[in-house]
Symmetry: D2
Subunit: 346 residues, 4 copies
């Protein structure tokens, strides 16, 4: 039984962590911080947790957090980098669900996130928490940078192809669609139901913060610099990401059956990546509330263009679920402990 | 470990049973029938179940079902009453999620369901599966009539008041709102997304089949004949029922605090009925995917009219979850075995 | 051709006014104010209006507004009462879509709206702008208090019954459901899509600001003090209000056919109240974007309880459309000028 | 005043035609056919049309239709080709909203639509009803093949680039998202709200019937054979199409400003194509219920890949609205007669 703390427990990734950890057998939730809701019972704010959690939100306090075995940051970008170092020095493991430790290059980080990095000296140590790539490093890590939601869905879809050098790395396209919970639990006009319901649009088409994170991962897989066009879209639903990925097959001789076999083999031992039969159409609802990524492959008209469809729940495999998967690895628990929830259908 | 069969596994209550039973530690799913999908793997139709269920849909067959310890009917009305008797004679316990055994009066049943009852001799034996009322009888039952979704939400809201004789039984009003999954998984115009999305309406306002079931339960609680007006509505969402109940307080001296105390006491030992603090507004999403009923009380302007708000997930506490709760009781498992799922938020 | 001004043009009722007035043949939109968006083109904020409006948001300025023939206030409560008097003194007619002039009793207003009324001397002059009740007074009015959305749907449903003394006035129940646009265009947590999508709940069940407005109207129709329980609910959709009204018929001899005839007669000359055939179920989408109220009657089980279903679009008949209807009356235009839009289906 | 007939008036494109034509000043709706609903008043099925249409559905009958000036086919594929010839011989103009006359090549048509073409001799005469390309031919046409919804959004986005030879025609990608009304008003499991709400998926990724229609149009614009990958997706909303188009700029020297200028110039005189400012994100709701196509351009990271965003309402510019636009051209009415409706916001 380990003691856990959550910094920023009132956002959507925070409450999703609470939902998962509340039923996790190896975990005791000890500290949940929130500046705005300090003093309120967690289950008063989140009545879905009534009966399983007996904690009161507290103001963030390093000393209280230092008693935990692991602390999750479910905070806006720019917070974890202020506190993580102090916690690490107290021997606390840190899993950061924000973007603070995802990029290895502090300058690049500053360019996209608009502030100086407060703790660049930890960037080299931080392990990018995509278990399908970095499992061994995660097991030994003190500090894990939990991947973003878009980056998780896109990387899992492209990885096998890039690792085997099967596609033209210069013209990758990721047309990705996300439910509105990805925008977080903030009082903002743009994500009101009246603004996003019954409508569909692209946003940040000229450049989104997840672009450098994705390309960093794809570059590593390709051992080469990839050229990626990434266009995110907002879907009138709450949870779910659907990535539609386009790539040109380099070697015309590679058949779709061979590529399917490659994907199945690449993810054969992965508990949370599920390669569907050829020509399937994964549906975001089939992974809603679950930590799974479902992937399917198409080769329209038998042409040169490969289409990879990849779906996740942005708050689970794209955030809190993956964070718990990382925690399980870091503490030697079964990798899927606490992550057995099945998606609701319908 | 008991063997279970599900007749009619392709409807929404059927697949919800599969979702719950697939992770239930005391249960092996042995037979899942479907005329239309016989021969198809269950997880091919329901990709959310990939990895947890290894069964193929089969055509309904009494002999195959007779090997089970318990058989659930998740069928349209009129099917269970054809087969239940044969199964009971084989020593199989039966839990019927349809309406076939809910009314004790066969003539009343015929009036509302438009067909002769095929098995009226079992109506007296069948136990109405509302554990909060009939727990002891359920434990000993061979045949359980699992309550309807509307009746569950309405009865749990009115019961404490009727049992204590605190309200005027002649003028009860139940204004109830349901998500569209309540209409089932049938190819019908009326429940297309284009027909029900972004709109709200009442239906069957002049008389809905759940009315006699509700009044039968309320009469029993009141030990009197109640007068109930019940108007169901369709909400543009998938899961959830919200009952708004209105009753006139008989004794003006009874305060809201006293009534709140009564509700808390009545449901103190109930794992799945959760009385919220006075003046709360339960939200259907806080019970989505969970077996809970959340209830809150209001007395607007301190007047004579009491308002009871009661929410459930129509497919869980209103169908499959309650069926598993009943199964747990019938087989001596912990009542909440397999029913720990927390509602997703957001 | 009259000159119009809109104060508060960036809220949902403001932009709905713009949509209607932009195509109104007798109207020129001259001033649209917004503190936050002053300097921005109206169609830059609302691209649905590109090509039909050539106005820039300006800061509110009495002198500029004083050149208009009529000024609409689509502002939060508490603004119109500060400025209306000055405009009236300049000979400008005023239509206030906020609540400032709806209650005749300034103390009651203060009790529900939490501030002193800035202009109680105008309350007696202000005409409550429900044309189906006050048409003649509206034609002559300088200052019209445009009704609230809930009050419009509830009053139109109860009026014929109260005017004829056919129901028990002591136990009226209005269970009303609204789309989220009723909450306005404000950056608030509670109306995020992640908070309101796929869920249903009551709110303000113990007392909502529209209660005194509704009872004031019902009292006048009944020439008596009515007892009303009013519970509003939030529907996961953008537009639409559905009122489900319950009343006890006083004289058992009155048949549903007679009541239907009474409704049809009462609204025979009303362009915007449409009584559907007996036992219909009006659907909010059939009035979405239109100025119509559709009403249907039920008498469940032929009992003593009458159920009236009444639907409107909260932003049209419940706000901007009714305001334009009032303007048409005030200026002698055809009452339906500019209000011919048909609801989209699906 | 012309007499119009609608064959297949009970589908979504049929009722959308009714909504538009009911308020069109030059049109009298004379015949609306429906096999299933013959004998029913149109406004009984569609209460949004109460008060504006006084027609009863009739069984399809060539003689009755032959008295019309123009007949619209809003039928499933395969119907118009059976009847169009007879109507043309009676001097009736025909606008077919189905796919029967869209492809010039009968064999290609058979390949994609799975049946022999009943009337290949008319394929050469039929004019593809995209006014932005074929306005003059439409004015003189007897038979107009109204474009599909996906093809309209994709062609309007690519046309200026292909006409000017600015992009690599071999690697075009159209990632397109549609609301569920595109699937039509048919009782089908796949488009139930419980199946499509709160979820997102691709479909027909390996080949969709609109592909040959789109490529036929793009080939003509490019005067060359284009290579297109087209992946349609289903959005949990009712109306709207959002096309995200990707193309490689051939000549690196062409700047985004130049391309923007090209689009603005190409569509300068088009009433229904609206080029938004550079880097805008068109939102489907801003064209909902309107006949507009809104387009915006992006060049992410200043690279070689151009992103074109194009939105329409699938039932208006993608079906009934464009059909009325074509009718206006064929009869010499103002091109936008009856098409002034503004999109509702919110």
């Amino acid at each position: 039984m380990i003691q856990t703390g959550i910094v920023g427990g009132t956002g959507y990734t925070g409450v999703e962590l609470l939902r998962i950890l509340a039923l996790h057998k190896e975990v005791e939730i000890k500290v949940v911080t929130s500046r705005t809701d300090a003093g309120t019972r967690v289950d008063a704010l989140y009545p879905n947790l009534r009966g399983v959690i007996d904690v009161v939100f507290s103001a963030p306090d390093v000393d209280a957090l230092a008693d935990c075995d692991v602390v999750f940051f479910a905070t806006p970008n720019g917070t974890a980098m202020q506190i993580a170092k102090a916690l690490l020095e107290h021997g606390v493991k840190v899993i950061d669900l924000s973007a603070d430790f995802r990029l290895t290059d502090a300058e690049e980080w500053t360019k996209w996130y608009g502030m100086e990095h407060a703790c660049p000296e930890l960037l080299a140590e931080a392990v990018y928490g995509l278990p399908e790539v970095n499992r061994d490093a995660i097991k030994k890590a003190r500090l894990v940078a939990n991947p973003g939601c878009y980056p998780t869905s896109v990387q899992l879809g492209f990885l096998p192809l890039l690792e085997q050098g099967l596609i033209d790395v210069n013209h990758l396209i990721a047309d990705v669609k996300s439910g509105v919970s990805g925008a977080g639990r903030k009082a903002e006009l743009a994500t009101l139901m009246s603004e996003t319901g019954e409508s569909f649009k692209a946003y940040s088409a000229s450049g989104h913060r997840h672009l450098p994170e994705i390309t960093q991962g794809l570059n590593a897989a390709a051992k080469n610099k990839v050229g990626l066009t990434f266009v995110p879209h907002l879907v009138p639903m709450i949870r779910g990401i659907h990535a539609t990925l386009y790539a040109q097959i380099s070697h015309n001789k590679t058949s779709l059956d061979e590529i399917q076999a490659l994907f199945e083999q690449r993810y054969a031992d992965e508990l949370f990546v599920d390669v569907l039969p050829i020509n399937s159409h994964p549906d975001t609802r089939n992974v809603k509330g679950s930590n799974k990524c479902q992937i399917a492959l198409h080769q329209p008209q038998g042409g040169n263009t490969l289409v990879i469809l990849s779906v996740i729940d942005n708050l689970v495999k794209g955030a809190a679920g993956q964070a718990v998967q990382n925690m399980n690895l870091m503490f030697g628990f079964p990798e899927d402990q606490g992550l057995h929830t099945l998606a609701l259908y319908p």
